[in-house]
Amino acid sequence: MNQSNSKVIGLALLVILILISLFSVKFGAVSISIQEIGNAFTHLIQGTEITDLNERIFMQIRLPRVIMGIFVGAALAVGGVLMQALFRNPIVEPGLIGTSSGAAFGAAFYFVLGATFKLNLGEWTLPIAACLGGIVSTMLVFYLSQSKNGGKSSVVSLLLTGIAINALFLSGVGFLSYIARDPQARSITFWNLGTLSGAYWEGLLIVAIVTTFSILLSLRYAKQLNALMLGEQEAQLLGISIFQLKIKILLINVVMVAVATAFVGVIGFVGLIVPHLLRMINGSDNRFLIWSGALLGAIVLTASDLTARLILSPAELPIGIVTSLIGVPVFIILLRRTNYFF
């Protein structure tokens, strides 16, 4: 934990995030001038109505979308840091304990059977269905992984149960896609690849509050997660109650990831690679990884979203395709070049 290094890295990440966000609000299917951005804010401050089309696009579509990307990216990356630390396993990502597959099932259920069951809470129906799906699947994983004697769930049994429950819910999604009519099946596919295009201010507010609160809370457990690197027994010998820590970290992750996924769909890979990129740069101290993960996650997702909008403009790609398409080569190159030793 080199303090001066991490300060420099933090500052650099912050500058990059600001630049990329500025690019991201400006460019897209419609290019927005600095003048128009200024006007839009003037209207907001004066409380007058925006009449100009570009200013409205900026205020109601572009800005919430970019900010949504920042918070979702932060949530996914920090979720990855927490899960890798908790499971003491470098191949883990936040969806591993069933959260994203459950959310995907909830969303698919809404798309295909929502009308049949008269599920209608307006624009909140999809996020609520997805969030419930994510929480139910995670609870199921946690419940099923408890051993009969003693009620403690070992990390390995959590991991295995998570993989099994993921497979179960994904087959559920597969079944729903199979019985779906064409437009419904397309909705499922799109949602599973993730998109920020539906971002709106009310949803953004929820994601922002939940993510910020969760990240601040998880910083409090950074030291305990560090001790866990020695193993569960050793961490306990250093005075940490493993069972309590496990429940707290799982809860933080589930709420943060389920809420983010509920609004933007399943976005893979960010939660896996961001923690590794940061470990390559500055080591494995979780205090560093949590806050810098939030920044780098935000950068990666914002940049991916910008790419997704520009590459086929005016059409756009699902963001999940971009995060994997760019993320995988970058990750592999770094993995081979650096001295990242396990």
């Binding site: 934990m1 890798q84 630390a85 003491r88 396993n89 470098p90 409090r220 950074a222 030291k223 560090n226 001790a227 866990l228 690197m229 020695l230 193993g231 027994q233 050793e234 306990q236 010998l237 250093l238 005075g239 940490i240 109650s241 470990r279 080591g283 494995s284 101290d285 205090r287 990242y340 030793f341 396990f342």
Partner: protein, 252 residues
């Protein structure tokens, strides 16, 4: 001071520890010897609270171990376990700092940094402080773990004696470091009289040279416990290990 009262642990019908009652005094080095499967590590785990006995109690300074929180235990008791593997790369200095975790809340205080520094110097790992722990050899890793464990109980606590539990402490170490480390533990004990050291070793010569008391375990039971000269001789070694040995020098 740690006292074991009628301690027994049974698992699937087999006695792992069978009615052990004894007292380890502070200011002394107690070494445990016994054949594989005699219950040496199990006994250490019962004293560290990692395992709970079916019957009996562990009393530390007269207080029941089960009634003390993990957090409080970690302040006065450090344990060196076998085979510690890190899940992610960390610098040597970061691993040693983990020993101070029970003593600070979120970031280390100057005292914690100072203690880590001294402990790293004591075990001669200060020159590898920035190296990745995962790239070290087995013996180097073991010395880093020593530095971490000692950092945890470096300073005395008001109203409590300190306890150091060392399971298979000499694994991976060459003969120089085996004697060097044992001597360092003894020197540290002389300066810190409230410390009780309990270790598991296999080498009879080392046990004879460094121990104040020897505990011989056989089939989950105490075979002999007491001063080295009364417990460790050709006859007891034959009865416990079924190996014939000759004694070349006097035990103090």
């Amino acid at each position: 001071m740690i006292q074991l009262a009628n301690l027994s642990l049974k698992k699937s019908g087999k006695n792992l520890i069978d009615d052990v009652s004894l007292k380890f005094n502070h200011g002394k080095m107690h070494l445990i010897l016994g054949p594989n499967g005699a219950g040496k590590s199990t006994l250490v785990k019962l004293m560290s609270g990692e395992l709970k006995p079916n019957i009996g109690q562990v009393l530390i300074d007269g207080q029941e171990l089960e009634k003390t929180s993990f957090k409080d235990q970690a302040k006065y008791r450090a344990v060196l376990s076998q085979n510690i593997e890190l899940s992610f790369p960390l610098r040597v200095s970061e691993v040693v700092m983990m020993g101070r975790f029970p003593h600070y809340e979120s970031s280390p205080k100057p005292l914690d940094l100072e203690i880590c520094e001294e402990s790293m110097k004591l075990f001669r790992v200060d020159e590898m402080r920035n190296r990745n722990y995962l790239t070290l050899s087995g013996g180097e890793k073991q010395r880093v773990q020593f530095a971490r464990v000692f950092a945890q109980i470096w300073t005395p606590l008001p109203g409590r004696s300190r306890l150091l539990l060392l399971d298979e402490l000499l694994t991976f170490l060459d003969i120089y470091y085996q004697y060097d480390l044992m001597q360092k533990i003894r020197d540290f004990m002389v300066k810190n009289e409230d410390l009780t050291v309990i270790g598991v070793v296999h080498d009879m010569n080392i046990a004879a040279k460094f121990a104040d008391t020897i505990l011989l375990l056989k089939d989950a039971k105490v075979f002999a416990f007491g001063e080295t000269k009364n417990t460790l001789n050709a006859s007891t070694i034959y009865q416990v290990f079924q190996v014939k040995v000759e004694q070349y020098f006097e035990v103090k």
